[in-house]
C-alpha cells in the first residue's frame, strides 16, 4: 500500500492493484472514447480524431468532433463517473451492496422533479434544476424515513423500494398530463438518454465532479472506510459519525441529481459500477476512485451499444443499462444465496 501525504493533514491511500485497475480503466475509457468519437454515419479514423484533439484536422472533422460527438462523449464519461462514485458512497454508507441510489429511489425522485417541469412547459435549465431538487428531496425523505437506526442493512433498501413504487406511480401520472410531443420528450428523458447532449449538459456534471470528487476522496474516504466497521467502532476511533454520514450522503445525492439532470435517470449504473470495481480491485472499503472510473467506462460502452446495436435505430442508453443492470442485479441476488446474507 502506498500512502500519499498531502499538505493540510490529508492523506491518500493507494493500493497497487487498485491503482492498476484505475489506470487500466482510464486507458480503456480513453481508447473507447477515441473509437466512439470516430464511429457513426461519418466515420473518422482514430488518427484523425487524435489530430483534431491536438488542434489540427479538416474543418469538417473538427466540427463533427468538437461540436457533435465530443460533448456527448464527455457527458457520458462525466455522468458515468458521477453515478459510479455516488453508488460507491451509497453502498459504503448503507453497508449494503444493494443500497444504490436507483434502488433507493433517488433517481426516481430526480425524474419526478424533471417531469413536473416538462408538464409545466419549462425549459431545459429549469428541468435540470428541478431534477436536482427532486433527487435531493428524495434523499432527505429517505434519511427521515429510515430513522436513526435504519441506515444499515436491508431496511433502508426496503424503504427505498416503497418510495420508488410511489414515485413510479407519480411519474407515470405526470407523463399522462403532458401533451403528446412533450410526453415523447419526457419518455425519452425518463429512460435515460445521451442523444443530442451538448456542452451545456456536460459542464454542470463536470463542475460537480470537480468539486465533489476531491472532497469525497480526500476528506471522506478514510472516515467511510472506518464507518464500514460499524457506527460504534468508528465513533470509538474518533470519527464524527453523523457529520461524515450527512456530508457523504449529501455529496452522493448531489452527484446523482446532477447526473440525472444531464442524462436522465440512467438506471443501475450506480449499482453496477462499484460492484465491478470491487471485483476488479479485490480491495475492501469503498473503492471510490475505481468505481468512478468503471462507471465512466461502462456508460460510454453502454452508449456505444445503444447507438450501434440495432442498425438504423438509436436506443436510449437507459434501456441498455436497465436491461443489463437488472439482469446483473438478479444474477447477484441469485449468487448471494447461501453467502453472507
Amino acid at each position: 500500500m502506498i500512502v500519499l501525504r498531502l499538505p493540510g493533514g490529508l492523506s491518500l491511500r493507494l493500493r497497487p492493484r487498485a491503482l492498476v485497475v484505475g489506470l487500466a480503466g482510464t486507458l480503456l475509457a480513453l481508447a473507447l472514447a477515441v473509437l466512439a468519437v470516430g464511429a457513426g454515419d461519418y466515420p473518422i479514423a482514430p488518427a484523425g480524431v487524435l489530430r483534431v484533439l491536438a488542434g489540427g484536422g479538416s474543418p469538417a472533422d473538427r466540427f463533427i468532433v468538437t461540436e457533435l460527438r465530443l460533448p456527448r462523449l464527455v457527458t457520458a464519461l462525466a455522468v458515468g463517473a458521477a453515478l459510479g462514485l455516488a453508488g460507491a458512497v451509497f453502498q459504503s454508507l448503507t453497508r449494503n451492496p444493494l443500497g444504490s441510489p436507483d434502488v433507493l429511489g433517488v433517481t426516481s425522485g430526480a425524474a419526478t422533479g424533471a417531469l413536473v417541469v416538462v408538464v409545466a412547459g419549462g425549459g431545459s435549465a429549469a428541468l435540470a434544476g428541478a431534477a436536482a431538487a427532486g433527487g435531493v428531496a428524495t434523499g432527505l425523505l429517505l434519511y427521515a424515513l429510515a430513522g436513526r437506526h435504519g441506515v444499515g442493512g436491508h431496511r433502508l433498501v426496503l424503504v427505498g423500494i416503497g418510495v420508488t413504487a410511489i414515485l413510479t406511480g407519480v411519474n407515470g401520472w405526470l407523463l399522462t398530463r403532458a401533451p403528446l410531443m412533450d410526453a415523447a420528450r419526457a419518455a425519452l428523458w425518463i429512460t435515460g438518454s445521451l442523444d443530442g447532449r451538448g456542452w451545456a449538459n456536460a459542464l454542470p456534471v463536470l463542475g460537480a465532479l470537480a468539486v465533489l470528487l476531491p472532497a469525497v476522496l480526500l476528506a471522506r474516504a478514510p472516515a467511510l472506510r472506518l464507518l464500514e466497521m460499524g457506527d460504534d467502532s468508528a465513533a470509538g476511533l474518533g470519527v464524527p459519525v453523523r457529520r461524515v454520514r450527512v456530508a457523504a450522503l449529501g455529496s452522493a445525492v448531489l452527484l446523482v441529481s446532477v447526473a440525472a439532470a444531464a442524462a436522465g435517470p440512467v438506471s443501475f449504473l450506480a449499482l453496477t459500477a462499484p460492484h465491478l470495481a470491487r471485483r476488479l480491485t479485490r480491495a475492501p472499503g469503498p473503492n471510490l476512485l475505481p468505481s468512478a472510473v468503471v462507471g465512466a467506462a461502462l456508460l460510454l460502452a453502454a452508449d456505444q451499444l445503444a447507438q450501434h446495436a440495432v442498425a438504423g435505430r438509436q436506443l436510449p442508453v437507459g434501456v441498455i443499462t436497465g436491461v443489463l443492470g437488472g439482469g446483473y442485479l438478479a444474477w447477484l441476488l441469485a449468487g448471494e444465496r447461501g453467502g453472507r446474507r
Binding site: A165, G169, L180, S267, G322
Partner: protein, 316 residues
C-alpha cells in the same frame, strides 16, 4: 357485502357527470332514458372491471403473502405485473396485437415467467421476504426499462401505452369484462380450492404432509392461480400496485391469518378498495381524473413503509 354494493353504486353514480340514484336506476334498466348510454357504455363496464380486477389482485396478494409467509408480497412489487406489462407491450408494439382477447394470453405468459423467475432468483424455498422484494425490484426495473423502450418506438404506441402503464379502469368497454372473466374466475376458483391445504402448509411442509396436503401441488396451484389473476388484471387495467398488499393486510385485522377466511374476504374487500380508489381519483382529478393506479400507489406506499418501519418484515 353491503359495503361492496354501496361502492358499486357510487362508482356508477359519480364521475364527470354525477347522477342521482334514480338516474342510475333508469340508466341501468330503461333503454329510453338519457342516462342509458352513460351507464352502459362507460360506468357499468368500468365498475364491473373494478370488481373483477380488484378481486383478482386482492386474492392474488393474499395467496402470495400466505404461501411465501411474506408480508411484503404484492403482485406489483414482485414484478409480476411488470412481466405482464412487458409481454403486453411487446405484443402491442412489435406484433400489432391490439385487442384484449389476444393481449391477455401474452400477459399470462409474462406473468408466469416472472413469477417463476422471481422465486428462483430469491432462492426458491429459502427465500426471505427481503430477498423476494429485492428480486422483484430488480426485475421490475429491468422490465420497465424495456417497456419504456417499447413506448419510444413510435408515438402511437406511446399515446396508447402511457395511459395504460399508470394503471386505470377508464379504458373499460362493454366487451372487457366478458373476455377477462374466464381467467379471473378460474384463478379465483383455484385459489379458493387450495385454502385448506394452504392453511396446513403454514405449519411447515412436514406437518402439512401429515395433515394430508401435498406441498408441491399446493405451491403449483397457487402459482397458477396468481398468474391467471395477475395476468388478466394487468392485461385489462395495466399494472396496479399495492392493492394486493393493502387489501390482505386490512382484511387480516378482521379475520386473522387463516387463509380459509382471509382469501374469500379479500375477494370481497379488495374490489371495494379498488373501486373506492377509482371513484376518489375521478372526484379528486376533476375535470379530468387521477388514474386508479396512482391513487393506490399513493395510499398503499405509506402502508408498505409503515410495515417496514415497524419491523414486521419476516413475521407473519
Amino acid at each position: 357485502m353491503l359495503l361492496l354494493a354501496a361502492v358499486a353504486v357510487l362508482s356508477l353514480a359519480l364521475g364527470a357527470k354525477p347522477l342521482s340514484l334514480a338516474d342510475v336506476w333508469h340508466g341501468l334498466t330503461d333503454p329510453a332514458s338519457p342516462e342509458y348510454a352513460v351507464v352502459h357504455q362507460g360506468r357499468l363496464p368500468r365498475t364491473l372491471l373494478g370488481l373483477a380486477a380488484g378481486a383478482a389482485l386482492g386474492v392474488a396478494g393474499a395467496a402470495m403473502q400466505t404461501l411465501t409467509r411474506n408480508p411484503l408480497a404484492d403482485p406489483g412489487l414482485l414484478g409480476i405485473n411488470a412481466g405482464a406489462s412487458a409481454a403486453v407491450a411487446t405484443a402491442t408494439v412489435l406484433l400489432g396485437v391490439a385487442d384484449l382477447d389476444r393481449q391477455v394470453w401474452y400477459a399470462l405468459l409474462g406473468a408466469a415467467a416472472v413469477t417463476v423467475a422471481v422465486h428462483a432468483i430469491a432462492g426458491g424455498r429459502q427465500a426471505t421476504p427481503a430477498r423476494l422484494a429485492l428480486a422483484g425490484a430488480a426485475l421490475n426495473a429491468a422490465l420497465y426499462s424495456y417497456v419504456s423502450a417499447m413506448m419510444l418506438v413510435d408515438s402511437t404506441s406511446l399515446e396508447r401505452m402511457r395511459f395504460w402503464t399508470v394503471g386505470s379502469l377508464a379504458g373499460a368497454r362493454t366487451d372487457t369484462v366478458p373476455s377477462l372473466l374466464p381467467f379471473v374466475l378460474a384463478g379465483l376458483v383455484i385459489a379458493l380450492l387450495v385454502t385448506r391445504p394452504l392453511a396446513a402448509l403454514a405449519l411447515g411442509d412436514d406437518s402439512a404432509r401429515a395433515l394430508g396436503a401435498r406441498p408441491g401441488l399446493v405451491r403449483g396451484a397457487v402459482v397458477v392461480a396468481v398468474t391467471l389473476l395477475c395476468g388478466a388484471a394487468t392485461a385489462a387495467c395495466g399494472p396496479i400496485v399495492f392493492v394486493g398488499l393493502l387489501a390482505p393486510h386490512l382484511v387480516r385485522a378482521l379475520t386473522g391469518p387463516d387463509p380459509r377466511r382471509l382469501l374469500p374476504w379479500c375477494a370481497v374487500f379488495a374490489p371495494v378498495l379498488l373501486l373506492t380508489a377509482d371513484v376518489a381519483g375521478r372526484l379528486l382529478g376533476r375535470p379530468g381524473e387521477l388514474q386508479v393506479g396512482l391513487v393506490t400507489a399513493v395510499l398503499g406506499g405509506p402502508l408498505f413503509l409503515h410495515l417496514v418501519r415497524r419491523g414486521r418484515v419476516g413475521r407473519l
